[in-house]
Symmetry: C2
Subunit: 327 residues, 2 copies
């Protein structure tokens, strides 16, 4: 059974139960949303990381692992336009992990928890053959300012909040044990991703953004989520994909394609969002002035249900495709 089929299977549980009246969004967005009063709602999301599936101890220092395990969940709350408030940590620890490893993991986690002011409120500690980390984050948002995957409209432009492919390039460099000070930013993008909490809140408050998601799997997959939930299609222009010069250089060195990293490398944890074209100047201004960030238009929302990549030569259907499926 594929992951998608398993999700459909468990959706049966969702459908067979009565939907609680306070639930605004369940499965299908970055986080579940439920109302707590007329104006506010709570957001909640979980992420599970498993050793040798999501990380390999050889190239993932424990400080970075602690940092990243919370960063990816913060990114989900950000993508809904919410403020993260607290988290719950469940860990399964191999008996031979070592005290220093656990200490460094805790230091990384503490570092990001303090940076984003999220409180650790509970958890579970068990033993496990492989190191397993589950973070559940609870955040808060105004009901009127939620950023949902389902609100993209035909005619919107598609934007991203930073360079794509850096994290995938960093992972390749780590795997191949290639060290080069010019490429440290790529490795950092993989090890210590920075969730777009401030930018997402700024965009949400502006009221100018229609749909949003965080880029965890690559835009081929994540834009397909927006299309599925909004019942629209999208076109992405290859020449508009923002790819850093470091990423291009590393790709040339490794004889790999930076476009593939940008489309499906995943783990960039940037924001992918849609807005009406006339809002772009104001969004640019807000992103730059309030967050010091550049945002990039990479395509547009169209009729249909596919994500197409427009290259100088051809149009390629990239809907939901993973790394290995095109190129």
């Amino acid at each position: 059974m594929k992951e998608k089929d398993i999700i459909f299977l468990f959706e049966e549980i969702v459908k067979s139960a009565s939907i609680p009246p306070f639930l605004l969004e369940g499965i299908g967005d970055d986080a579940a949303v439920f109302t707590i009063n007329e104006k506010d709602c709570l957001l909640v999301t979980s992420d599970l990381m498993v050793e040798d599936v999501h990380f390999v101890k050889d190239w993932m220092p424990p400080f970075a692992l602690g940092y990243k395990s919370l960063a990816i969940s913060l990114s989900d709350i950000a993508a809904m336009g919410g403020s993260p408030e607290m988290f719950i940590l469940s860990i399964g620890l191999p008996p031979d992990l070592g005290d220093d490893y656990i200490f460094q993991f805790k230091e990384g986690l503490k570092s990001i928890a303090l940076k984003y002011n999220v409180a650790l409120i509970g958890g579970d500690t068990v033993s496990s053959e492989k190191f397993v980390i589950n973070t559940t984050i609870i955040g808060r948002a105004k009901r009127q300012r939620l950023l949902l995957r389902s609100q993209a409209r035909i005619g919107d432009v598609v934007l991203v909040s930073g360079y794509l492919g850096d994290a995938a390039a960093g992972l390749e460099l780590l795997k191949k044990r290639i060290k080069n000070t010019d490429w440290e930013g790529l490795i950092k993008a993989h090890l210590l991703p920075e969730p777009e909490v401030l930018l997402a809140q700024t965009l949400a408050t502006s009221g100018l953004v229609h749909a949003a998601i965080d880029i965890s799997d690559g835009i081929a997959t994540d834009l397909a989520w927006i299309c599925r939930q909004s019942q629209v299609g999208a076109r992405v222009y290859q020449e508009k994909l923002p790819i850093s010069s470091a990423c291009k250089e590393a790709a040339a060195f490794l004889q790999m394609d930076p476009i593939l990293w940008a489309l499906s490398g995943g783990e960039d944890y940037k924001l992918l969002f849609t807005a009406p074209p006339e809002a772009v100047p104001e969004l640019n201004k807000l992103a730059w002035e309030k967050c010091g960030k550049d945002i990039f238009v990479i395509g547009e929302i169209v009729e249909g249900n596919r994500v197409c990549l427009i290259t100088p030569q051809e149009e390629i259907d990239i809907t939901g495709k993973g790394y290995e499926h095109f190129g």
Copy 2:
């Protein structure tokens, strides 16, 4: 590092951050508690189960695993006097698990979700070498009616909401592949534990109960939690421990001690609570009339910080002791 030391290590994260004003209880109770308005609070708790640590596929059918994975978190919400409302499921699935196994797991989960009317609102599905399940449950309670571990008072009696040791007996029978229709209830106690949601709500509403916890590790450990959080000691009378005749028979057959199962076998998921002695008749009446349940006085809260077992021959310090440490 032992589990207790790891928890202390992570408590540093709790202490170094500013405590959110809405947080009533963080780490140290069955669930974290935060206020959402003047009267109501939300409860949230996570439980992580790992294959070959918490269950072995050979003697844990997938239906039971699905049922139990939610039951243990429901039990935490119950022990706070809350109503469970929704849950988030993160699963790490081995590639060779098989469609039928996943289907049966989902059926077990659906069965208990519908029984207790809790909505599945989100989750994460990843691959993993061993089967890993993390459930996060969110519930609701009245602030004035919360059941906390920290409220035991000297002079209180200590009560439990049912037989102790059945689940431990069931596990031994499963491990040794012993089948006997007289002992089916023991196996069921291990495979399909029933969280005390209704009873706990009844006790919480009565306003007569001081402290409560659910019995996940055995009363030697769980009563020690109440003592630690309430800064008191406790005495438990061996002759008052409620042990089922099936449990005694199975213990005799297996040449094991049912008292040890009752004290530290764990996984009974009954309620362990304290109340003033004069409240016992009313509590007995409420438990029986509203929930059809017997409750049992097993000891009392005293000065100090230890949990002592009183046997006909001696007094034994059992504070926080696991299965292997006494007998």
